[in-house]
């Protein structure tokens, strides 16, 4: 409020800046109280993101203060202020426990694996080896049903061939 809307009220700025600085320091110290693990990493990332957003906001005001022409002060500060709010909102939503933090990170890894599978599929398509769905109604038992819903997705002819070979060896 002190530095945002032009003209800036520099005299009002020090108290909130001092408070922000102290609280940012406390936030960083707080992360060291978490025991080593995934939850601690999550807390450290949240704190880093918040401090970086604050840093960007401070730099924005500093660069604007350096400008003598107050007419150049626009509403740009709203974007950087919004980034601080977003970082804080994200930080207060960190996991409640190590178990929850691992579950969250595990899901993120699962998405990564899914992306990698997507890449392989894309390469297969590029090589013209993807069978699409032309054999969907042929009643072929691909043998994956026993693994439950994870395997319900229709297999390509190449995958079916592979499954048939593997089944033969078991």
């Amino acid at each position: 409020m002190a530095l945002g809307k032009p003209p800036p009220s520099y005299a009002l700025a020090p108290p909130p800046i001092k408070e922000l600085s102290e609280q940012a320091g406390q936030l960083v110290s707080c992360t060291s109280t978490f025991p080593q693990g995934v939850l601690r990493k999550e807390a450290v990332w949240a704190a880093e993101e918040t401090v970086q957003a604050l840093d960007a906001l401070a730099k924005h005001f500093l660069s604007n203060c350096a400008l003598e022409d107050t007419a150049t002060h626009g509403d740009d500060y709203l974007t950087t202020t919004g980034a601080v709010h977003a970082a804080v909102e994200k930080a207060v939503k960190i996991s409640d426990s190590e178990r929850e933090a691992i579950a969250k990170a595990w899901k993120a890894n699962a998405e990564g694996l899914s992306d990698s599978l997507g890449d392989v599929k894309e390469m297969m398509e590029e090589q013209g080896k993807k069978g699409d769905n032309e054999d969907e109604e042929d009643g072929f038992d691909d043998g994956w049903d026993e693994f439950g819903k994870e395997f319900q997705k229709k297999l390509s002819p190449e995958e079916r061939e592979r499954v048939a070979k593997v089944r033969g060896q078991l």
């Binding site: 190590e98 392989v120 080896k129 593997v166």
Partner: protein, 140 residues
């Protein structure tokens, strides 16, 4: 892409798919659905999470080897890496161990329960991955 590499790619897809499903199953079976009366200890969850991270890295490394310029040796190393991660998990949990008692003992020690239906699922999944790996090894 050369024909032999395309052939390898077609074999690697099910390998990664099984590994990915194994990863999902561990999440749904053990991480998210831990029975409240006998929760899985955090050290076990942490140990399983090591597998999750390693599998992600190994999978990425393997997929990257198929981008140009491809090199058979790197692809082979990538396959070994994925296989090694899966095997490490199996060695820890002993799903495919020949002695059922030892499997049950190990799972009990890790507080993972020993529901025979799930044990069978995991065992089959590991065996599928090993079979695909063996086929791949023969093909390279």
């Amino acid at each position: 892409m050369q024909a032999n590499l395309v052939h390898l790619l077609l074999q690697i897809y099910p390998l990664l798919r099984f590994a990915s499903v194994l990863h999902d199953k561990l999440l749904s079976q053990y991480i998210l659905k831990a029975p409240s009366e006998d929760p899985i200890p955090v050290f076990t969850i942490n140990s399983l999470f090591t597998f999750s991270n390693s599998l992600l890295v190994a999978t990425d490394d393997l997929v990257v080897t198929f981008y140009s310029p491809q090199d058979l040796e790197s692809i082979q190393e990538g396959i070994e890496l994925v296989y090694g991660v899966v095997q490490d998990l199996d060695n820890e949990l002993r799903f495919t161990a020949s002695e059922p008692d030892k499997v049950a003992q190990e799972l009990k020690r890790l507080h993972l329960g020993s529901d025979s239906k799930h044990l069978l699922w995991f065992k089959k999944c590991f065996l599928q991955i090993y079979s695909i790996y063996n086929n791949l090894s023969l093909g390279i």
